[in-house]
Amino acid sequence: MIAIFRKELADHLVSKRFLILFILVLAAAIAATYIATQTIRGAVTEDTEFVFLTIFTTRGTELLTFLFFLSLFIPIISIALGFDAINSERNSGNLSRLLSQPIFRDAVINGKFLAGLAVLAIIIVSVIAIVAGLGLRIVGVPPGSEEVLRLIVFALISIIYGAFWMALAILFSILFKSATTSMLASIGLWIFLFFFMPVIANAITGNAAVQMMVARVSPCTLYGGATSVLLVPELDESTASILYQFVGRLPTPLPFSQSLLLVWPQVVGIIALAAICFAVSYIRFMREEIRAI
């Protein structure tokens, strides 16, 4: 498995795909940060406890926050890195050669998944670090220790969120023989969950509990909720509505430990969804008869 991991990682890091994604994410992140630092003075009041975190969550008049950009890009990066994991091997005639080597079949999936995840982690961590550094330079307010902790947990959750999309993309790359089909399927599902699921949830009027349940099937909602709690300790109105147990509470910042407690179910939800994708991939791939390929 280590051999596969190493090769896949090396492949990713020198690929044009990686370069394009990295530049894209970096450009968006810097733009968002720049806007945030320009408007931050208006957003920060005397009571603001976590000035540094607002760099990640402040929006300009029209442009969106860094947080929003990241929640948009994580699925795209994961899908881009994983959508052709297995079917490209199959179509290029490498799969049968690979599987006739003395390795366990699951090592192929594991190696590819971990390599993709490592690349994703590199992108996320470096982008957060760059934005933090930029923010520090422009705003001039150093982050408190709690803010640093929150950022670390934020990065971790982002990676877990990416793991879900990676697992999904790999699953589709096993299910569909053509790389184009598997990419369209992954992107299609993402668009559905990201854009339409909230609309569907909103359409269900009357029963708040059902509305909440529908909304929280989507990993996008789970991730949005979890990261908002972490980066916006004051919990504004929109965040609170996702976490129904906090409807009607006073707008005071939550302590870090309470934030963690609050995001825990969301994180477990994302992990569970990723595990389901992974399990299905395993079963499909392990049981697949390698026929005349």
Partner: protein
Amino acid sequence: MGQVIVETKDLSKTYNGFTAVDGLNLRIEEGEIFGFLGPNGAGKTTTILMLLGLTEPSSGTAQVCGYNPTREPLKVKHIVGYLPEKVGFYEDLTARQNLSYTAELNKLPRDEAEKRIEELLATVGLSQVADQEVSTFSRGMKQRLGIADIWVKEPKLVFLDEPTTAIDPEGIEDMLDLIASMAKKGITVIFCSHQLHLVQRICTRIGILAKGHLVAEGPLDSLGRQSISGGKYRIEVEVAQANPDLLDSLKRGAGIREVQSSGNTLFISCDEDLRSQIAKEIVDSGSLLVGMKIEEYSLERIYKTYFHED
């Protein structure tokens, strides 16, 4: 004879009600170049995949070098190389990198692997282009790289599935030389091909598969005798100044089944190779013996006798 490398007992495989391999009994010994023939869909590739442990047999057992491929696939894959029909390499890696990856997957120590890869690249004639991306390679070069690729792990047995399709005549010659040199190193080769004249040239034994059954098996000449001459040896003799009694005296000879003449040529059909006895008979009768040859069988003809009705 040598050690048994492959042995199957009533090996069968059914895919959704379609029987691809049906009660196959195969025995291949060390050092053989076994030609595995049959039309498309006869079950050759399925058999190979079962022997590699990539597909599970529906019933029956297989043994490869003493291991059961279903139960111990990793042990089998350590000592067995498989060159699939549509072999592919990572196009953006160089030939050397592709081979290193295979070596790494086989857990070869790095310095040993490097040395072996260097030797193999020279053997298959790719030393010059070892550091070029595989995407620049021709089909023939990729096939040769495929041979190097299965050779990296120093296998005991290799399966070559149609290694000579879609390559030019020169490439085919290179390929056959490589296969022969593998066999010389003691590697048992199972060679699947539709190019019968190639199989005839290099294989020591041949098995013909039809609809999942092994319909014929053996060295080329015995296969030919069975399928074409009904188990008889056919000898063609050219004589001059034939003694009129020669025909009758030949017919009386022990083991001789039939004698036909056409001008100066006699066609003799017998139970075993009686060439020396026939020569003596002719000379003793006072006739002159001009030439004599025993019938050779082309694999093409043998193959057709099994499949002409299809």
